[in-house]
């Protein structure tokens, strides 16, 4: 039985990844290009400032893959593979949730588990450490940023699983509706506290030393020696559009996983409409 779940989970993950890739190719790539254009324009302005100040000018290094390759093939392979990975983890979560999450129909459970995956693996971590386009982020903090991001993902998974367990425990006393609300509230309080405690990327020590106190690593305007702005800060509209499309793409991915897995799960687990036999035993 578990193999049926895993194969189907990875298949629907691949479909979700494909749709998310098509979405990304149409909507995200223009934003990524704008961010890279900003970055190279800023680099040129910085070089001019350095030259005027008599400093050595940094040279850009050659990249192993062209932009066209990254923006068509690389992003496709990356997102589809990510979809397969999420589909695999989803199948495991679904198999484990079966029979342990109360009286839920297979296809309802399929949507609930997909919603949980979307929240735990993407949206909750995003709320604290949102997706950034290229040109944002300092190289010397990549270790800390990756560690904090993964920590946030891990905490989100643990809290949501604990929330599901808590909801089960409360259900007998408060009923399904109230138990669900209480469990959601408990998750929100714990996650909110965690987000308050964890540092913002701009507050990492390397950043505070170099740039002072800022909430994020989003580039500020570039100023010359007199303090005049010679190159603007990162465009807010590009940042918003990129993040909005990032959320939308993950919603496409997880929505596809949930909606495509639902009928498959119903067929694997549900009562057979044509016989009076007990639900398929496995």
């Amino acid at each position: 039985m578990e193999r049926h779940f895993i194969v189907r989970g990875m298949a629907v993950g691949a479909i979700g990844g494909l749709l998310a890739f098509l979405f990304a190719r149409i909507f995200a790539e223009p934003q990524i290009q704008k961010a890279i254009d900003y970055e190279s324009g800023r680099h040129t302005a910085q070089s001019a400032l350095d030259k005027a100040a008599g400093l050595a000018v940094e040279h850009e290094h050659a990249e192993p893959f062209s932009r066209a390759f990254q923006g068509n093939v690389g992003i496709g392979v990356g997102i589809i593979a990510f979809g397969i990975a999420m589909g695999a983890l989803y199948a495991v979560a679904y198999a484990l949730a079966c029979g342990r999450t109360g009286k839920v129909r297979p296809r309802t459970l399929a949507l609930l588990v997909a919603g949980g995956g979307f929240l735990a693996l993407y949206l909750i971590p995003f709320a604290k450490y949102p997706a950034n386009p290229p040109a944002i982020g300092h190289e010397d903090t990549i270790r800390e940023r990756s560690g904090l991001y993964l920590l946030m993902v891990g905490i989100s998974i643990v809290v949501l699983v604990a929330g599901a367990w808590l909801g089960q425990r409360l259900q007998a006393r408060f009923g399904t509706w109230n138990a669900t609300l209480l469990a959601v509230l408990a998750c929100a309080v714990v996650l909110g506290a965690v987000m308050l405690v964890l540092p913002s990327f701009g507050e990492l020590s390397a950043n505070v030393e170099a740039y002072g106190h800022h909430a994020t690593e989003t580039p500020l305007p570039l100023r010359d020696a007199q303090g005049r702005i010679v190159y603007p800060g990162f465009p807010a509209d590009t940042l918003f559009a990129f993040r909005f499309f990032s959320v939308a793409a993950q919603a496409v991915l997880w929505g596809t996983i949930g909606l495509c897995f639902a009928p498959l799960a119903e067929r694997l687990l549900g009562p057979r409409p044509d016989t009076n036999a007990a639900p398929a035993t496995v």
């Binding site: 923006g71 983890l89 129909r105 609930l112 035993t281």
Partner: protein, 74 residues
């Protein structure tokens, strides 16, 4: 999130417990490993840490996807 019931009483197809035994556990464990490995190579490798040493091919190949999927990059 976890506790929803169906109104459809006649066809109450609550999900049964479907797993048991070492075989199932091994399959699930292997699948989790595969999923986590893919997650790692798409999102993390050749950023903060690197399996293949001081090289940036994995990073550059999935670069746009890494940004768009929400991972810290650069």
């Amino acid at each position: 999130m976890s506790t929803s019931t169906t109104l459809d009483g006649a066809r109450t197809g609550s999900t049964p417990v479907v797993l048991g035994g070492t075989r199932a556990a091994l399959w699930l464990f292997g699948t989790v490993l595969l999923g986590v490995a893919l997650y790692y190579f798409i999102g993390i490798d050749q950023g903060a840490t690197s399996v293949f040493g001081n090289d940036t091919h994995v990073h550059e190949f999935v670069h746009d996807a890494r940004h768009f999927l929400g991972f810290p990059c650069h």
